[in-house]
Amino acid sequence: MLTFALTQTDWINLAYLLAAICFILGLKMLGKVKTAARGNAVSALGMLIAACVTFFVLNEGEGISLIWIFIAILIGATIGGWGALRVPMTDMPQMVGLLNGFGGMASMLVGIADYSLVASGTYESLPFNKTLAIGLTILIGGVTFTGSLVAFGKLAGLKITPTKPVQFAGGRALIAGLLVAGLLLAVLLIFKPHWGWLIAPMVLIALGLGIVLVIGIGGADMPVVISLLNSYSGIAASMAGFVLRNELLIITGALVGASGIILTRIMCKAMNRSLLNVLFGGVGGAVAPSAGGGAKGTHREASVEDVGIQLEAAGLVIIVPGYGMAVAQAQHAVAELARLLESRGITVKYAIHPVAGRMPGHMNVLLAEANVPYESMLDLDQANAELEQAGVALVIGANDVTNPAARHDKASPIYGMPILDVDKARSAIVIKRSMNTGFAGVENELYFLPNCAMLFGDAKAMAQALVTEMKTE
């Protein structure tokens, strides 16, 4: 009498809903410092639920046996887990890029697999929305895969993927052409669902598109690119959901796709750039050494002893780390220097610019690795409030984020970017190897100010030299 009819499928879908809720809560919690770690755990729980529940779906099918599935999972988990545990903190951005590429690849494979699984001669009756979804899954998944691989290569410094933006005549036309061709093939598949041969060129076009899209962007912009590709891989997963008529994939993919775009925009804003400028501006990369400082004035050089004396005389030292500190892996030496200073009664704080380094939070991660307490890291506003009181601002491998031109020189490419007001400290000391420019390729006015002195050398070597100097005094 009572049709209390929840089928097994219904229960599975309810469990999938639970997983989706975990992802929603997890994403929200990941956005706040206090709850971020728990948020990641909640989202991992959702993934566990989703994967386990799926095995209930499986007992109806008769594809490759469960054993093979477990083997595949084991292989994947081993590679993923091993890589994730082994990768040094400073290589995180490329690691995320690589993982993201694999996700896109998986979605693309799901799209192809589902198409080839309808092999029982029923292609003709494929509804348009399924073929459409298959086409989009392949295209977006493919772009995500090669795009992420190129981003990985640029960040890892692989030879085949120069960090410089590789731009060539007709580059944009090529991009547009590939895009149009890919979409045309996808439309064709809708009208001719039985033309299986369309899949191969579609895959190739997607892979090619991913490469040309990213190869033209400078290596330093890769974090933004990876964030964008992360959004793409979400959309690809969502499209795979349309292919498989799976609500969990649709929801979760869309969540990642949308939040990824928002995060990308936030990251662009922090650099005072537009997304279009990042994608097609061809900015950044290993900037060729520029003409040196002669054009703007003369700089003053300091010796290790000079600097040691100045540091000891300062009441408050604010350390401004930048990309150079990351490259030189100098964080431990810097932290040791700071502790030494503190043991002599000098207050030491770190001024963290939001886009110092090459990925957001780069400096925070490095300094945390060197056990610098969270409380002594100042964000942009806090730092600028304290810099005026600082005896010495010690700039270590940072350049653009300290350039006063951003405040007043409308012609400068970094005009408008909020900077750390290092020039307002009583004196500024800059550790870098030469007068070369940083990421944006512009001269730094700071170096020619009377209260600024340069200490040339590798960041790690110089920090260690300062430690030795102070200990031997």
Binding site: A37, S107, A113, S116, F242
Partner: protein
């Protein structure tokens, strides 16, 4: 009934929700958030599992599904571990408010 339009509805709602969820993230969290949501996009693992066990047996398709499982699992496991490592860094020291 083809659930296509209902799925579009779900898709649109999730898009709006995704846009609202992320707002004013401190820059420290940009990379962990990116990596965490990258792990979530490994949800395509569920799709790979479904494909590999499809009732219609087709050697090629199932092999692709098998490959897809491997890639997706790398993404999921690697993503969560990497994110966790990054977040542990911030967590271990001092108080936060």
């Amino acid at each position: 009934m083809d659930p296509f339009v209902t799925h579009i509805v779900i898709f649109v709602l999730a898009i709006f929700l995704g846009v609202e969820l992320i707002q004013k993230v401190p820059s420290t969290l940009h990379t962990p958030l990116m990596s965490g949501s990258n792990a979530i996009s490994g949800i395509t693992l569920v799709g790979a599992l479904i494909c590999s066990f499809s009732p219609t047996f087709a050697r090629f398709g199932v092999m692709l599904g098998f490959l897809a499982i491997i890639f997706a699992t790398i993404n999921v496991v690697g993503g969560y571990v990497v994110t966790n490592r990054m977040l542990r860094m911030f967590k271990s020291k001092g108080s936060r408010d």
